[in-house]
């Protein structure tokens, strides 16, 4: 409790660090904040071409929205994923990158990884706002769902933050973490139904039956992937325009709370030794 109070007391510092990241990032670029859209747009074009046009992954039209645009369907899952992967990548390196500061000034260390979450969330919110506008133009009725959407975004941010806290500590002790993470994220991305619909997995799972005689099925294993649930909820809200499945929401909430709790615990345990270990 004391620790949480200390973290809360440094919210102003957190705000300043977030604005340092945000302001510093696109400084001296001509397009400024628009660069934040460049990466997801490029990915959208590539994946739409390869998976929508060539492989013909054909996600069901939004129900009840009636939307049937692969690119938009893709972005509803891709934007949350890029946010998640950015937070993990930058967050895991945040302590090592600020080693000089940690060794010279005392402050609540946790603000460093959290500021990464904040600045990434800022960019993500911008991207999501653009997506909401695009969805509305395409005929979706997203606007009433924005409050729920914000709640789910906060849940994903909390989930990502918790994982990033653990990784940032791990990276201090094992610098391999950062490199290992890029591989893990790549595998994780393809194991999450972002560029293909989950229905294909269910079909493949039904065809394969139980795996190697165990009671596990492929789609059962997919349920263990937290990002699967987050992507499902985002699609239900933004692409289908309906209440997300209650169970899915609860699973997301559970992952967010669990990851945050473990993340803070791990961080608190190790923060004292940071200055020496770095």
């Amino acid at each position: 409790m004391n620790y949480l109070r200390e973290v809360f007391a440094s919210r102003e510092l957190l705000g300043n660090l977030v604005s340092r990241e945000v302001k510093g990032k696109y400084k001296r670029t001509v397009f400024g904040q628009l660069w934040s859209l460049a990466n997801p747009l490029a990915l959208m074009v590539i994946y739409t071409f390869v998976f929508g046009f060539i492989f013909r992954a054909n996600p069901a039209p939004g129900d009840p929205s009636g939307l049937n645009v692969f690119a938009l369907w893709l972005l509803c899952g891709l934007l949350p994923w890029t946010f998640f992967s950015t937070v993990l990548t930058l967050g895991s390196g945040s302590l090592v990158a600020n080693a000089g500061l940690i060794q010279k000034v005392y402050f609540t260390r946790i603000v460093l990884p959290l500021s990464i979450v904040g600045s990434s969330a800022y960019n993500w919110a911008f991207e999501m706002a653009v997506l909401v506008i695009a969805l509305s133009i395409a005929g979706g009725f997203v606007l009433p769902w924005i409050p729920v959407l914000l709640v789910v975004m906060v849940l994903l941010a909390a989930f990502a933050a918790g994982v990033a806290l653990m990784l940032s500590i791990a990276n201090v002790y094992f610098r391999d973490t950062e490199y290992f993470l890029t591989i893990v994220l790549q595998i994780w991305f393809y194991l999450t139904p972002i560029i293909y619909p989950i229905t294909l997995v269910q079909k493949a799972s039904a065809d394969a039956g139980s795996l190697l005689g165990t009671p596990f099925t492929l789609s059962g294993i997919y349920q263990l992937n937290p990002m699967n649930h987050f992507v499902t909820v985002f699609r239900q809200l933004m692409y289908d325009n309906r209440w997300p499945d209650g169970v899915e929401m609860l699973v997301c909430l559970g992952w967010a709370a669990g990851s945050m709790a473990v993340g803070i615990l791990v961080f608190r345990r190790n923060q004292r030794n940071l200055a020496e270990t770095l």
Binding site: E12, R28, K104, Y106, D176, A275
Partner: protein
């Protein structure tokens, strides 16, 4: 009897000297260890009190543990033995300008750095003019700090740190940079601090500074406290031990 600002009580701090250090997962898994090390005590059984309202100098040769002690005082390191108690708000200036973002302007960096050092936005706004005035860079305050000269950089960093308005200020050898005019300004600031009953602890190799500013001093040698007391006799003892006057 004056009250104590900082009580250093039997403090010991050890570091691990690694003969072998493989911080990779491979070595952790394959050999079930990441390192072979022995303990090295940078500080051992150091105890002294710093009275409130005094200016206190830490002296000693290179590698004597001064900076380690300072970092323990500043809550950056945690001692393995003993304890350090401080009575009042503490601010440490171990390196000025750490945490500056070079692409941001001086103005933005004042707010950023101030909050890293623990000031609230309101406090910084109130002291903003004073900070800019003290730093003497008002003409360039809206320029990105990467364009600052090293002197300007240090002066701005110092101006922020000194305006944190702590009860106890901890200063590492940061005054070596900056011209003599600025140094004199800093010394004046230390005297002002003292006049209002605040405590300053500083590390320096310049015996002249200690003689001029400090009431008390502690001499460390290889992690052991050799003597502590009024500054003049402590300095004399230190200088005798190294056999020559290290000059002022």
């Amino acid at each position: 009897m004056t009250t104590t600002a900082v009580r250093v009580d039997h403090v010991g701090k050890s570091f691990r000297l690694y003969r072998e250090r493989n911080q990779t997962i491979k070595s952790a898994v394959m050999r079930r260890r990441t390192s072979v090390h022995e303990d090295f005590w940078a500080l051992r059984d150091v105890s002294f009190d710093v009275p409130q309202g005094s200016t206190f100098g830490l002296i000693g040769s290179n590698g004597s543990g001064k900076s380690t002690l300072l970092k323990c005082l500043a809550n950056i390191y945690y001692p393995n033995e003993g304890s350090i108690k401080h009575f009042g708000r503490i601010a440490a200036m171990l390196e000025v300008g750490s945490g500056f973002h070079t692409e941001l302007s001086g103005r933005e960096n004042i707010f950023l750095n101030g909050s890293i050092l623990g000031m609230s936005k309101k406090e910084i706004t109130r002291k903003y003019d004073e900070i800019v005035d003290f730093s003497g860079v008002e003409k360039f305050i809206d320029q990105p700090v990467k364009n600052y000269s090293s002197g300007m950089y240090v002066r701005l960093g110092f101006a922020i740190a000194i305006n944190v308005d702590p009860d106890i200020l901890i200063v590492d050898e940061v005054l070596a940079v900056g011209d003599s005019e600025f140094q004199e300004k800093c010394f004046q600031k230390f005297r002002d601090f003292k006049a209002v009953g605040k405590t300053v602890i500083l590390v320096t190799h310049s015996m002249g500074t200690v003689k001029e500013l400090c009431d008390g001093a502690a001499w460390l040698n290889q992690g052991v406290l050799m003597s502590v007391g009024a500054s003049a006799p402590t300095i004399a003892e230190y200088e005798r031990s190294i056999g020559h006057d290290s000059g002022s």
